[in-house]
């Protein structure tokens, strides 16, 4: 059955329910949030409708500049670590038999679906003094006595790489599984070693995929809000943590909304960049 243009109102019927739901429960809440970001905070209650730029102005302080800088730096680090680990891994995975691939994909999906709460709890246990990895080091004689490895920056970074790694692998998977095998065969026939062929043929051919993945993981990491709280100190808090904190504990919705709008703009700009990179790849 070919696709046809809708001829009558009745042809639009299937669209009614999805359109209604998405407009009422996504577009309207999103717009509400943007509106609230211009409202005035009401110390006694919630907020009062207004049109002020105070909330945005407050954002332009040294403190929030620092938080933003830290968030971006952390997200960049997470993205680089994840792609560095995941790219060769995913490439090798796509060369394995179907059964092996399926098994890994099930495992990766299971880790990916884990709540940030559980990932945070699991790593805080692993980094703890009483039940942590340092007990293992003591057992094999590497250390004298167990120590707590958190709250530290390293703990936050490890937790976030753990959270983003399955996502990274699953984002890379379609591009790598569809990679033309003749490319590699040609290189191998011409005498390149597997590792050389990987770095000289596979990696350059997928340069745009790598850039797009880096950006997507970066946006994913920007969204982390519990791990910095569970595994780090207050100076490791990111913009997402601060938004939650302002909205819930300081009951300053307008300010939280202003920060969220700012985060949307950063994310959208980056998603747009990803699409642009992807389009160039398709054109090639």
């Amino acid at each position: 059955m070919r696709r046809e243009a809708p001829k009558s109102i009745a042809d639009y019927t299937p669209l009614f329910f999805p359109a209604l739901m998405l407009i009422v429960f996504f577009v309207v809440p999103f717009s509400t949030m943007i509106a609230v970001s211009f409202f005035k905070r009401n110390p006694s209650g919630f907020y009062t409708p207004d049109f002020v730029f105070d909330n945005y102005a407050r954002f332009l302080s040294v403190f929030f500049g620092g938080v933003l800088g830290f968030s971006l730096l952390l997200a960049v680090l997470v993205a680089v670590c994840c792609v560095a680990i995941a790219f060769p891994f995913t490439y090798l995975l796509t060369r394995r038999p179907r059964r092996v691939q399926t098994l890994w994909l099930v495992g990766l999906l299971s880790v990916l679906s884990l709540s940030e709460v559980i990932i945070g709890f699991a790593w805080s246990t692993l980094f703890s003094r009483t039940a942590g990895i340092t007990n293992l080091f003591v057992a094999i004689g590497l250390m004298d006595k167990p120590v707590a490895l958190l709250p530290t920056f390293g703990a936050v970074l490890t937790g976030m790489v753990y959270q983003a790694l399955p996502y990274t692998i699953l984002v890379l998977y379609p591009a790598l599984v569809r990679l033309d095998p003749t490319l590699l065969e040609a290189a191998r026939t011409l005498g390149a070693s597997p590792i050389r062929a990987f770095f000289n043929v596979v990696a350059p051919a997928l340069r745009n995929t790598i850039v797009a993945t880096l950006i997507m993981v970066f946006v994913f990491a920007l969204g982390s809000y519990l791990l910095p709280q569970i595994l780090g100190r207050p100076q490791h808090w990111t913009l997402s943590v601060l938004i939650t904190d302002q909205a819930i504990y300081q009951s300053n919705m307008p300010f939280a909304a202003a920060m969220a709008v700012f985060l949307v703009l950063i994310s959208l700009a980056l998603v747009g960049l990803t699409l642009l990179v992807g389009r160039r790849e398709n054109a090639l």
Partner: protein, 267 residues
């Protein structure tokens, strides 16, 4: 030879990294004493029993499962007609709804959560359980939308054409040809949304977190006051549910295809 060995070492390291925290949590969860220690002291399944017997944990479990069952169903109900319309009709502007369906999943979750918080507070329904169901349904609509779009794309249009030529109207074609073909994609879309809703924290917290506890909220709240072994057993329970659901999808469907591999035969 060395290449194979290197690959094995690499795969083992990645597997260990992904499994290590879960192994420790699983070990902690069978401690016979109420303390955080690894390797476990003694062996006890009491903390698993507590998920179902302790009224607070059981209530949180019921909330989480209810939320996941209902919101995944609504997510599919929104995604199915939309995906069908986009496959059946040429209406370029309708793609805007596809973008809307994908957006909550691409943006950092705290944004969607804050949007829902300000919306439900403005309309005066903040804290009601059903607001979390609708919020989760919209938040996770992406998953059935993606799997169903893949499903529709895989349908051979000549098959449908044949049915239409034989005199079947749109409705009959949908019921007898299209729906059976996309059923596996519908089920996996539901399953994806279900598992992720079960694990979701921030949207649930910002809609009902002050009035109703789901399991992730309960774990986080418990975490603030120190350690209880039930947290560990609930975490293991979550991993088991996820592995079971995705394992079944892999068993009865083609998970590689769902995740972007072109054909069902290996590469």
């Amino acid at each position: 030879m060395t290449a194979t060995l290197l690959r094995r070492v690499y795969f083992t390291i990645v597997a260990l990294f992904l499994a290590a925290p879960l192994i420790v949590v699983a070990g902690v969860s069978v401690n016979s004493r109420q303390e955080l220690s690894f390797p476990p002291v003694g062996f006890s399944l009491a903390w698993y029993a507590q998920i179902f017997t302790d009224p607070e944990w059981r209530l949180a479990l019921i909330h989480s499962v209810t939320l996941a069952v209902c919101s995944a169903a609504i997510a599919v109900a929104v995604a199915l007609p939309l995906a069908w319309f986009l496959w059946r009709r040429i209406a370029p502007w309708a793609n805007i709804f596809q973008v809307l369906g994908l957006a909550p999943f691409i943006l950092p979750p705290v944004i969607t959560a804050l949007g829902f918080l300000s919306f439900w507070a403005t309309v005066g329904l903040f804290g009601q359980f059903f607001t979390a169901i609708i919020s989760h349904a919209i938040f996770f609509v992406t998953l059935p939308l993606v799997t169903l779009s893949l499903g529709f794309a895989s349908i051979d249009r000549s098959l449908v054409e044949a049915a239409a030529t034989m005199g079947a109207d749109d409705r009959t074609v949908l019921k007898t040809v299209v729906l059976p073909l996309i059923l596996p994609y519908l089920v996996s879309g539901y399953a994806f949304a279900f598992v992720l809703s079960l694990n979701e924290y921030i949207v649930a917290y910002m809609t009902i977190g002050f009035t109703t506890e789901t399991l992730p909220i309960k774990i986080f709240n418990a975490l603030r006051y120190g350690y209880t072994p039930t947290m560990a057993s609930v975490s293991v329970f979550f991993v088991a549910v996820a592995a079971l659901v995705f394992g079944s999808i892999a068993r009865f469907g083609d998970i590689r295809r769902l995740l972007g591999a072109m054909s069902s035969d290996g590469s």
